[in-house]
């Protein structure tokens, strides 16, 4: 901290007499200070965000307490608010999206990184990055005009006839549903999983592969048993990036989920998500309690993302230790 005072330009009269080295050192200090401020800003923004959400949701927190998380009524007219259907919808759509996107994404990443010729891999990578950059409202339109009719006419009826014995696939199918939202989300997050996983797989050292091949394993065995486990924590990272994206996705989900705050076991039923209800209702929320309840939902989403990310970190640490342990054994 003593060095900080020397870094202030006003500390000396004119710096001409000082040596070049000390000025450079001063420059280092300034750079350090500035970049530190930038880094601290990120933390500060997160803290301010939580404080603001906390501060602006006083009314519902006092009125409903923990009941906010347990009750299922959302009635702006009567001023009665419960978050459970939205939490449920957010988690279910994200789970469906990961269920579809993870195998597809990782499979594609393995092909691109390990099996495809480099030229094919690079070309495809270009399109995948393009997909990742498409605005979500475009995916919403795609959902409304393609996925929803497909869902109503083909996917839902066939799911019902094959898997109708499960409570997951029962009831009338309107096309707007948890499943539709999950599929649209899956389409949106697959590029993330592929792109990041491919990079991670490509960065696995060559000697790992060569060693595996040298002891007589096939190409696929070296990929599946050596390269993929080596890249495991990076692949996990890509999945959690995708999870975060699907939890917070607003526009595309609002367009295809059906926007009905109900908890249904069936994936073919309409539902609602936290991000979607905030986007839908905040602009026209006329009572203070309504506005603040929506803000509290924002806080819930923040916490949900926070908790899931925390769990993800723990999972990565645990699995990578196990991986390392097995490698040693």
């Amino acid at each position: 901290m003593a060095t900080a005072s020397t870094s202030l330009p006003s500390a000396g009269p004119v710096s001409g007499s000082r040596s070049f080295l000390s000025r450079l050192r001063d420059g280092d200090e300034i750079a350090r200070l500035i970049t530190f401020v930038f880094a601290a800003t990120v933390v500060l923004i997160s803290i301010l965000l939580v404080l603001e959400l906390w501060h602006d949701s006083v009314l519902p927190r006092h009125k409903f307490g923990l009941g906010f998380f347990r009750t299922t009524t959302w009635n702006p007219v009567e001023g009665d608010f419960g978050a459970l259907p939205f939490i449920y919808g957010t988690l279910v759509t994200a789970a469906v999206a990961l269920f579809i996107a993870v195998p597809l994404g990782i499979g594609a990443a393995i092909f691109l990184a390990e099996l495809a010729p480099p030229r094919v891999s690079d070309t495809l990578e270009f399109f995948i990055d393009l997909l990742a950059a498409v605005p979500s409202v475009i995916y919403g339109v795609l959902g409304i005009f393609i996925v929803v009719p497909l869902m109503r006419q083909y996917i839902a009826p066939s799911l019902k006839s094959i898997l109708g014995f499960l409570p997951l696939f029962r009831g009338p199918a309107y096309g707007l549903s948890f499943l539709t939202a999950g599929i649209v989300l899956a389409i949106m997050i697959i590029p993330y999983i592929i792109s990041v996983s491919r990079e991670v797989l490509l960065s696995v050292p060559r000697d790992q592969r060569e060693a595996a091949l040298a002891v007589g394993s096939t190409r696929w065995e070296s990929t599946w048993k050596v390269v993929v486990p080596f890249a495991r924590s990076g692949i996990m990272g890509s999945i959690f990036l995708a999870l975060a994206r699907s939890l917070g996705e607003t526009m595309a989900v609002a367009m295809v989920i059906g926007n009905d705050p109900k908890i249904s076991a069936s994936l073919l039923a309409p539902g609602y998500s936290i991000a979607a209800v905030i986007a839908n209702e905040l602009a026209e929320a006329t009572s203070e309690l309504h506005t603040q309840s929506l803000i509290e939902l924002g806080l819930v989403l923040f916490l949900l993302t926070f908790v899931l990310n925390g769990l993800a970190r723990i999972l990565i640490v645990v699995t990578s230790q196990r991986g390392a342990g097995r490698a040693r054994a």
């Binding site: 702006p76 409304i144 609002a254 309409p270 986007a279 839908n280 026209e284 929320a285 006329t286």
Partner: protein, 342 residues
């Protein structure tokens, strides 16, 4: 070089000064439903009075009420009148009340998609309430069929579609349902985003229309202006005098003149289910929210000037944009009320 740069800076500054000094800028925010006509009005008014520039942000009625109460804009706009609580909040903060001025009229129409049915269907208020309560679930239910003799309605489940986003359209529609159905009034009530007992939520008018178009045997509701602009077929609704009417600019204006007789002094009135044979029942005013007291007399005069123009020549722009114009009775009352602004 330096001198030239200096001269340019001075000239730019002077030019900006002239622009800023001359145009009085007035800011408003609120309802999105009247945004097209407001934009047209403010534009036309600026052409006639180049020194007055009115800016309008269509952020939603709730936002409009909030911002005018907080004093961040000069006037607000809303599709639903402010309630007593909100009026009191304004009065407490500013020490003087805020006034409502109806500008144009809108209407909400039922739209449906039933394969094999091309006829324009008749809906009673009871039928609409029962459908949206989830009590009538089949299209050939007597409650619907009795009003549509000669139309062969299928025995299919009705798919109910409503707005998912908070909106003045939902407010108007549920306000109407609350008037025609006691059960709706007690179970659901009226609001910009009520707790819908059944149905799918479409985001925005386009979401509702898209869902209805894509879903066989569905019913939804949209603004008349939206249905007209997008050539969406819509049904007739039975009015308070027992006549089945298709919404039109004339029948919506008729609803307002029907209500004009009992118009309260503050214009906070719902004109759904209005009396009169020619009155379309799901009609509504949309309001400008203007403070009674202005600290800036130039702004006050500009706003009063605009409202006077809007009530006169401005009304001629409404029909081209599918808004129904204000009836004469209401215009006369508003002109009187304008004098209250100080």
């Amino acid at each position: 070089m330096k001198r030239i740069a200096g001269i340019i800076v001075v000239l730019l500054g002077a030019a900006a000064g002239v622009l800023w000094a001359d145009a009085l800028s007035i800011n408003g925010a609120g309802a999105s439903f009247p945004n097209p006509i407001y934009t047209k009005w403010f534009d036309e008014y600026h052409k006639k009075n180049p020194n007055i520039q009115i800016n309008y942000q269509s952020i939603g009625s709730g936002g409009g009420i909030k911002q005018v109460t907080e004093g961040t804009v000069d006037f607000g706009a809303s599709d639903g009148p402010m309630n007593d609580e909100q009026l009191k909040a304004y009065q407490d903060k500013h020490g003087s009340p805020i006034l409502h001025f109806p500008t144009v009229l809108g209407a909400v129409v039922p739209t449906y998609n039933i394969p094999g049915v091309d006829a324009t269907l008749n809906f009673t208020g009871e039928a609409l309430a029962a459908i949206y309560l989830g009590k009538v679930t089949k299209w050939n239910d007597p409650l619907i069929a009795d009003a549509n003799k000669g139309v062969k309605l299928p025995s299919e489940d009705i798919v109910v579609v409503h707005r998912a986003d908070g909106s003045g359209t939902s407010y108007c529609f549920t306000d109407y349902l609350s008037k025609v159905s006691e059960e709706w009034k007690t179970k659901v009530g009226k609001g910009t985003s009520p707790n819908w007992p059944v149905g799918l939520g479409g985001k925005g008018s386009e979401g509702v229309t898209g869902t209805v178009k894509n879903t066989p045997n569905s019913i939804g509701y949209v603004e008349l202006i939206y249905a007209e602009a997008n050539k969406i077929p819509y049904g007739n609704v039975k009015n308070a005098d027992g006549v089945f009417l298709k919404a039109s600019l004339a029948s919506v204006t008729a609803a307002a003149s029907g209500a004009a007789k009992d118009m309260p002094a503050d214009f906070r009135v719902s004109i759904t289910n209005a009396k009169g044979k020619a009155a379309y029942p799901i009609s509504t005013f949309t309001w400008l929210l203007i403070p009674e007291k202005f600290s800036d007399s130039a702004k006050r005069d500009a706003i009063k000037g605009f409202v006077t123009w809007m009530l006169g020549d401005g009304q001629n722009y409404t029909e081209a944009l599918s808004y129904a114009r204000l009836p004469k009775e209401v215009v006369a009352k508003e002109k009187k009320a304008l004098a209250e602004i100080q």
